[in-house]
């Protein structure tokens, strides 16, 4: 046997035996959640991974056991993971659907069907930028190809010629929904033509055919020829998940017929027929695998449980300490908020070749808000990458890139646009560090405008900071001055956590004193922007400026207002707010966003709890109206709290 044919046979058999063992373990109650087996589809993972090294990055879906094993994961780590043990590949955080072993290039499987397509393209982007000859590979089912991520991911991989393989395992059912029914064009490979890339259809139960097609595609990818879509026609001969009924949507006869086309049986026969292997050789491999899997199962059953105290570890990367903040140089002319972040970005891009920017019009044009002005000519098109209007796609690609060693920035222009990628942000980006138990980093900065103004109407004016701050794993930053913007932006650029950097549109051209040298401002450090003794007012971004005006007016009436700018919504510096409340006894929170479940409610809850005995009046909130943003100036002005409403609220609070 050649090493190649031995790998193919052995790997398929390892997957089969492990899966059958897991099915038994599921029946015995050793597996606590879902268990999606790969029985019948072994040839695909095996044929593709035969041409990958551990530097190549594999991404897959809920049916990922086979990909993990073919990529080199020991069966013990897989079994222990499904048993929920600490020695499992994801340290017990994932189970069947979330397998992570970045050490061998198994970058993760997901319970959502299509993000792997984008992440593999992102790995391809990292490889292209760093010129490493790695490839990114996505394994996904037919259920993913009718998802927008397929369209956006393949299109961008094609236009940027990313070294990526898209391997569709067409097992003909998305859970129970037949692909023939769900697809207007059920020929997946032919869809490649829509994106201008080669589309190849192979018999997914013929490991030699898969191997050959994959080899050609991988050679093409490594040599700069761009991505390939390979459709592997196959069938899973076990139910969607262990324990589920199987014959409501397909027949016993169909399943029996596909069992006859078992890829392992076929390859064994072919090896024997060609005289490439003897029965004895193959039996020896079978016996060795049986023993290995039996041993792995026994060890996994004995393996230790994870420590409950670690349940919230690795949500964020370890904190970085930063140097002292720079002192504003009064002799330097003031610069704008947008220019302040541009200074930080330019400086950091010069120092760190792994930083690149995705966005619409951020290349030659320099960004809608001049956020990348002048950078294209310095750093070129690969690092200042104009994108199609495919927010979900490029955010998902940025996720894959961040997982594989680069530091993407998504310049999304308006937060309303990036809401199209909400699932990528909260399901993938926010969770990746935790689910990989801190073995993956997520240095991804998403920046752009929020806030109402200029009659931008409802799709260019959102303030969604509260929604994102609800999600563990994200940092949400909202600076109110050019000085803070630069320091927080640089901190975000050096952070290993995903950061939403939200810039109020009405502040972009405001000016302030900003030190020329680089400096960082840590997240979670509020700033008391004005000291006072009667009322504490907490506000962010544009509202902070309105509160400052209100406070100046009230000073004449003898009302002394203390103002706290949290600067970051997540993490939230409740300590500074509570200390101020301790002094004043009164708290008003002014936030442009909607009231219900918002950051103002969150701050009020902290104050009512930890600051209860300091309260000398009810906690008050002033929020934007609970309505979409209207266009007409008279309507627009009616949905955010004006200065007069803020002064009235403060007066009212003093009289409570």
């Amino acid at each position: 046997m050649t090493p190649h044919s031995r790998f193919l046979y052995r790997t398929m058999q390892l997957i089969r035996v492990t899966e059958e063992q897991l099915a038994r373990c599921h029946a015995r109650g050793l597996i606590h959640g879902a268990c999606h087996t790969y029985v019948g589809e072994e040839a695909i993972a095996t044929g593709v991974c035969a041409h990958l090294t551990k530097e190549d990055a594999v991404f897959s879906t809920h049916r990922g056991h086979g990909h993990a094993l073919a990529k080199g994961m020991p069966p013990f780590e897989l079994i222990a993971e499904l048993f929920g043990r600490k020695a499992g590949c994801s340290r017990g955080r994932g189970g069947s659907m979330h397998l992570f072993s970045p050490e061998i290039g198994m970058m993760g499987t997901s319970g959502i069907v299509a993000p792997c397509i984008l992440q593999a393209a992102g790995a391809g982007y990292s490889a292209m930028l760093r010129k490493t000859k790695q490839v990114g590979v996505a394994f996904f089912g037919d259920g993913a190809v009718n998802n927008g991520a397929f369209h956006e991911g393949l299109n961008m991989a094609s236009i940027w010629k990313l070294p990526t393989l898209f391997v569709c395992e067409n097992n003909q059912f998305a859970t129970e929904v037949p692909f023939q029914y769900a697809a207007g064009n059920p020929d997946v490979a032919s869809r490649a033509a829509s994106y201008g890339m080669p589309g190849i259809q192979v018999d997914g139960n013929d490991v030699a055919a898969v191997s050959q097609a994959a080899e050609e595609a991988i050679v093409r990818a490594r040599s700069g020829g761009g991505p390939t879509l390979i459709e592997c026609k196959t069938y899973r001969t076990r139910p969607h998940a262990e324990g589920m009924g199987d014959y409501t949507y397909r027949t016993r006869e169909d399943v029996a017929a596909w069992r006859e086309r078992c890829p392992i049986k076929r390859y064994r026969a072919a090896l024997l027929a060609a005289g490439e292997a003897t029965e004895a050789e193959l039996n020896a491999i079978d016996a060795e695998i049986q023993a290995e899997v039996a041993r792995a199962t026994a060890e996994a059953e004995k393996a230790a449980w994870p420590d409950a105290a670690d349940a919230t570890a690795h949500v964020y990367a370890p904190a970085r300490s930063v140097g002292p903040a720079a002192v504003p140089d009064e002799s330097r002319p003031p610069i704008s908020y947008a220019a302040a972040t541009l200074e930080a970005l330019d400086r950091e891009m010069a120092d760190n070749p792994n930083i690149f920017v995705f966005g619409e019009g951020i290349g030659v044009r320099g960004g809608n808000f001049a956020t990348t002005a002048g950078l294209f000519s310095k750093y070129g098109p690969e690092r200042l990458r104009d994108t199609p209007i495919s927010e979900r796609g490029f955010v998902g690609i940025a996720c894959g890139a961040a997982m594989t060693g680069t530091r993407p920035i998504v310049d999304f222009m308006f937060i309303d646009f990036i809401n199209d990628s909400f699932g990528e942000i909260i399901n993938q980006i926010a969770k990746m560090q935790y689910m990989s138990s801190g073995r993956l980093k997520m240095p991804l900065l998403m920046r752009g405008c929020v806030g109402i103004g200029h009659s931008a109407a409802t799709h260019h004016s959102g303030s969604y900071h509260s929604i994102y701050s609800h999600i563990p794993g994200l940092r949400v930053v909202m600076p109110s001055t050019p000085y803070d913007a630069k320091g927080l932006f640089l901190h975000a650029l050096r952070s290993d956590d995903p950061v939403l950097f939200l810039e109020h549109r009405e502040l972009m051209s405001t000016k302030g004193i900003v030190p020329a040298e680089p400096y960082e401002i840590e997240f979670g450090k509020a700033r008391v922007t004005r000291t006072g003794k009667d009322v504490t007012v907490v506000a962010l971004a544009l509202m902070l400026h309105r509160v400052q005006t209100a406070a100046e007016q009230l000073e004449g009436e003898g009302i002394s207002v203390e103002i706290v700018d949290p600067r970051t919504v997540s993490p939230l510096d409740t300590g500074t707010i509570l200390r101020s409340l301790q002094k004043t006894g009164r708290l008003l929170i002014v936030d442009e966003a909607f009231g219900p479940c918002g950051i103002a409610a969150e701050i009020a809850a902290h104050a009512a709890d930890a600051g209860f005995n300091d309260l000398d009046a009810p906690i008050k909130r002033l929020n934007g109206a609970f309505a979409p943003t209207p266009y007409s100036p008279t309507l627009e002005a009616a949905v955010t709290p004006p200065v007069e409403a803020i002064t009235a609220a403060i007066r009212d609070l003093v009289n409570e």
Partner: protein, 353 residues
């Protein structure tokens, strides 16, 4: 005035009914003409409209939906904005409650100034007995306090007092008013310390550390508090030189311009309260020094001579506090004895010696 909301009589025959529901919520504001609550008699269910406006206040013990009620029974109140509820409950802010606890103020005695008569922090503070403000002590005062405590806690002080003849000292001062009693005593103490170095040494980690030189500190009273500048190598200076140096140091002390080297390294301290008529006192050791010499007032006194005659002489009381850990009473007394001797002998050489 709170407006009472009561159960109406729905028709002549109604003796009892069932309260169905509020159509407004507690705390909600109600306009006249709005439907306020629903009530059920034997015959009909009726929504009852509000005749007045206000904020609906439903007492905790008011009838619950489904309860039997009789005409005229109280259901709740309509309050004007900010009006207190009529059922005697007084609202108090959590902060006011806390402050009342801290200042021991009885909340029942207070009239609140907040909305609806709510008691606020200012109401509690206004009712609390006024305590005089105690300003935090100045930094120098706090330093002195800490040093005095350290001295009394870490030493074993004993004070010896002795009257000595000050005639020569007074005579020297009479000749040159620039020379103070303190300056003279610095010189005399320096000479006496040569014979009794134990009094200039210090106790450190169970051993006795010899003095680095005869550096004598002088307690100086300034408007900010006590400060002790040091005359270095006093044994090598003449009285005139000591007096000049002392004047410099005192001036600098008052101007708060002493440098660290002006106050560091003392091995023995002299403190003089004689100018205020004090005769004897028990000075506190200038830790970690071993001895401090207190000077009383120089006074004319009758002295009985050995031959039975009575003469008047100028006398001074010296108060020597020493650390009993370093030396015992007798050697300390011998130091005083030496001092008494040099007070008569040494001064014969004049102020320039």
């Amino acid at each position: 005035m709170p407006i009472a909301i009561t159960v109406p009589r729905l028709g002549w025959s109604m003796e009892e009914g069932t309260f169905s529901a509020w159509l407004k919520q507690h705390g909600e504001s109600v306009e006249p003409g709005e439907m306020l609550f629903a009530i059920e008699s034997d015959k009909v269910t009726m929504d009852v409209e509000a005749l007045d406006g206000g904020v609906l206040y439903v007492p905790a013990d008011a009838p619950q939906p489904g309860e039997r009620v009789v005409p005229g029974q109280l259901l709740g109140y309509l309050l004007a904005a900010g009006e207190a509820a009529p059922d005697g409950r007084v609202a108090v802010t959590p902060r006011a409650r806390r402050v009342a606890r801290e200042l021991d103020v009885d909340l029942k005695s207070l009239q609140g100034t907040g909305k609806g008569g709510r008691i606020r922090e200012r109401d509690v503070r206004g009712a609390a007995p006024k305590k005089p403000q105690q300003p935090v002590a100045q930094p120098l005062r706090r330093t002195i306090a800490a040093r005095m405590m350290r001295s009394t806690q870490n030493t074993a002080p004993v004070t010896l007092m002795r009257r000595v003849d000050a005639t020569s000292m007074a005579a020297m001062r009479e000749q040159d008013k620039q020379i103070s009693y303190t300056a003279i005593m610095v010189k005399l103490a320096a000479q006496a310390l040569e014979q009794h170095p134990l009094l200039a040494s210090r106790w450190e980690d169970d051993s006795i550390v010899a003095p680095s030189g005869t550096h004598i500190g002088i307690a100086v009273d300034t408007e900010h508090g006590l400060i002790v500048p040091v005359i270095r190598d006093a044994d090598q200076l003449s009285i005139t030189q000591i007096a000049a140096r002392l004047r410099q140091l005192v001036q600098a002390a008052h101007a708060r311009q002493l440098k660290p080297e002006d106050v560091d390294g003392g091995v023995f301290t002299i403190t003089n309260l004689g100018a205020y008529g004090v005769e004897a006192f028990t000075p506190i050791l200038n830790y970690p020094e071993t001895a401090v010499l207190g000077m009383g007032a120089v006074q004319w006194e009758p002295v009985a001579l050995g031959n039975g005659h009575l003469v008047t002489r100028q006398q001074i009381t010296l108060s020597l506090t020493f650390d009993h850990r370093v030396l015992d009473g007798a050697p300390a007394a011998r130091f005083l004895q030496t001092l008494a001797e040099v007070m008569t002998t040494a001064l014969r050489s004049g102020p320039h010696a």
